[in-house]
Amino acid sequence: MNLQVLESQFWSLCLQGVALGFIYVLISLGYTMVYGVLRLINFANSEVFMVGTFATVVAQVGILQNETNSQSLHGFRLIYTLTFALIFSMLVCGFLGVLVELVAYRRLRSLGAKPLGFLISAIAVSIVLLETIRIVTYSRPQTSPRLLDKWSFGEFAGANFRIDTVMVIISGIVIFFTLDRFVTKTRLGKAIRAVSMSEEISKLMGINLNRVVSLTFFIGGLTTGAAAFFYTTVYETTQFNVGFNLGLAAFTTAVLGGIGNLRGAFYGGMFLGVLEQFASAILGSQWKSVTVFTVLVLVLLLKPNGIFGEAVQQTRT
């Protein structure tokens, strides 16, 4: 127990927690979008994230020819490189998400399988992804070049506003609200919500079900890819087994906020990120996940559908 950090680092832990929380939120959208439409856990999402971290490195090192130990970039070149890596990672993950749906879900859906069948086929896909990357990278960790010089905007109330932390938070807000607008306002977003309310009636209304499902997986992949880019930029290293812990945390995020509920995922991520930071500072990082799960059980005991519940129209029948 180390309660002193509560006084000395309170705001610093909060800031880091929020930044971590945004990464969780972005990954958890990959779970929560799919869950909202299909009522299924998209178990392969954690490995889609893992592939995304490697895609970021590939974009920076392989395609744009930066050395792994190269100097940090400046000006236009920096913005260009980061934007390219972000978009590349998002697209790779988005199309991978669509591919996962085609391979693991499409045929099972047409056969009317039970939810556990989907779970196992999604797990099979994640085994395939994980093993492919493990074999390709020889199980070695891969460092990403420090292209972004990590200068600080300065300290406020003991919290160090570093450029990458600020970047994660601002981009996280932008991506999240764009998605929220997309789902609530646009025609395609309305189609997604319609399918999540009732598959059969939306089919009768002329919605192309398969296209909507693919779109959902694509969007979930896009946000997961963005999270992968931010993760790689902040932590500067990745390995084939990076997906498990982050996927677990993101899944917890989705459940905390009420799985299938976009805004719930947002608050769940903030809560989880801050909680994790405080738990590892106070109790030591080895007890981090124990604390998280204890809190999760307590929260679910009080609110069995997550803090914000499943959105009203999405409550299971």
């Binding site: 099972l108 093993e131 917890t252 996940s289 998280v292 799960f293």
Partner: protein, 342 residues
């Protein structure tokens, strides 16, 4: 497609009791002779490269069948998705490890303790968790599995990341010794446990708890309306499943003589769940078949060492796409019964 499950069931139903019992006896004898199959000409294709065939037969195959049957009570019979089943296996194994090294009790005396502690853990987890539904239960059990592993990793008494070394092997029964390189005896012990579990599950299925589980699995709300006490019967199914896992853990620890936290990861839970779903959810024979195949396959293809998990994943994916309800599904049998009723 040929439906083995229904064919078998209809043949079985037309047999007289003596024919049934002699068939069961023959099958049990054949299975009990499996450890010798590797030495015997026509069946030597079963031999696994690199690791010894008899060792593979005990772990993973026999233990996975046992755990699959235990998990089947939870997932298959009562429809509760448990993603942390390895926790009970770990609790059994650590009970054996700690009590075996610290006290003078032998494996057979520790076995009830292992089962008891696993059931206790099942009860403690189940009391809060079983009020939740579906996917919320899944994440809580998943977390429980991780918590047990992390606690084992960070406590003094469990030896931390080094685990427990020098777990004693069981004392001989009926003159049959249990030695490290002699796997036959372990196989027979686990086989007896498997048979006991099968018997137990079959008894449960036709009695009150089995009917309650079936009702809960099909529709919780309707079951509650019909007067089934949801929490009590869910707890029963959960603790009985935990007991089977704990028993498996005790034998496993006693056989490997060494346990460490990284033997009890989420992957094991997933693999056992895959065995259950792959074989056919809720169907004992399906689970046995699924567990045998999924445990045996990675060992059989060990010669492509680097890519064997990849091949495993691909096979799992293809089979799930071809037969989404598992190899021997339960659904068809229910349909046949309905047809006969008409």
């Amino acid at each position: 497609m040929i439906n083995l499950r229904d064919k078998g069931a209809s043949i079985w139903e037309n047999w007289s009791p003596p024919a049934r019992s002699s068939f069961v006896l023959i099958v049990i004898t054949l299975v009990a002779l499996l450890p010798y199959a590797g030495d015997f000409g026509p069946t030597s294709f079963l031999n696994t490269p690199i690791s010894s065939y008899q060792a593979v037969l005990v772990y993973p195959i026999a233990l996975f069948v046992l755990m699959g049957l235990g998990l089947n009570i939870v997932v298959g019979k009562s429809g509760l998705l448990d993603l942390g089943y390895v926790a009970f296996f770990a609790i059994g194994a650590y009970t054996m490890g700690i009590m075996g090294t610290m006290t003078s009790l032998n494996t057979w005396e520790i076995l009830p303790f292992g089962i008891f502690f696993a059931m206790l853990a099942g009860l403690l987890l189940g009391l809060p968790a079983l009020r939740l539904r579906g996917d919320y239960l899944a994440i809580v059990t998943l977390g429980f599995g991780e918590i047990v592993r992390i606690i084992a990793l960070n406590l003094q008494v469990t030896g931390g990341p080094n685990g427990v070394v020098g777990v004693p092997t069981p004392p001989p029964i009926l003159g049959q010794k249990f030695e490290l390189d002699d796997h036959k005896a372990y196989f027979w012990v686990i086989l007896i446990m498997i048979l006991l579990v099968i018997w137990m599950v079959r008894r449960f299925t036709v009695r009150r708890p089995g009917r309650a589980w079936e009702a809960i699995r099909q529709d919780e709300d309707v079951a509650a309306l019909m007067g089934v006490n949801l929490l009590v019967y869910k707890l029963w199914s959960f603790t009985i499943g935990a007991a089977v896992g704990g028993a498996g853990g005790v034998i496993y620890a006693s056989k490997t003589m060494f346990i460490a936290p990284d033997m009890f990861t989420f992957n094991t839970s997933i693999l056992v769940l895959a065995c259950v779903v792959f074989g056919g959810l809720g169907n004992i024979w399906g689970v046995i078949l699924g567990a045998s195949i999924l445990a045996y396959l990675p060992e059989r293809i060990r010669f492509i060492s680097n890519a064997r998990q990849l091949v495993f994943g691909l096979v799992l994916l293809v089979i799930m796409n071809v037969r989404p309800d598992g190899l021997l599904p339960r659904k068809k049998r229910e349909k046949i019964k309905q047809k006969e009723a008409k």
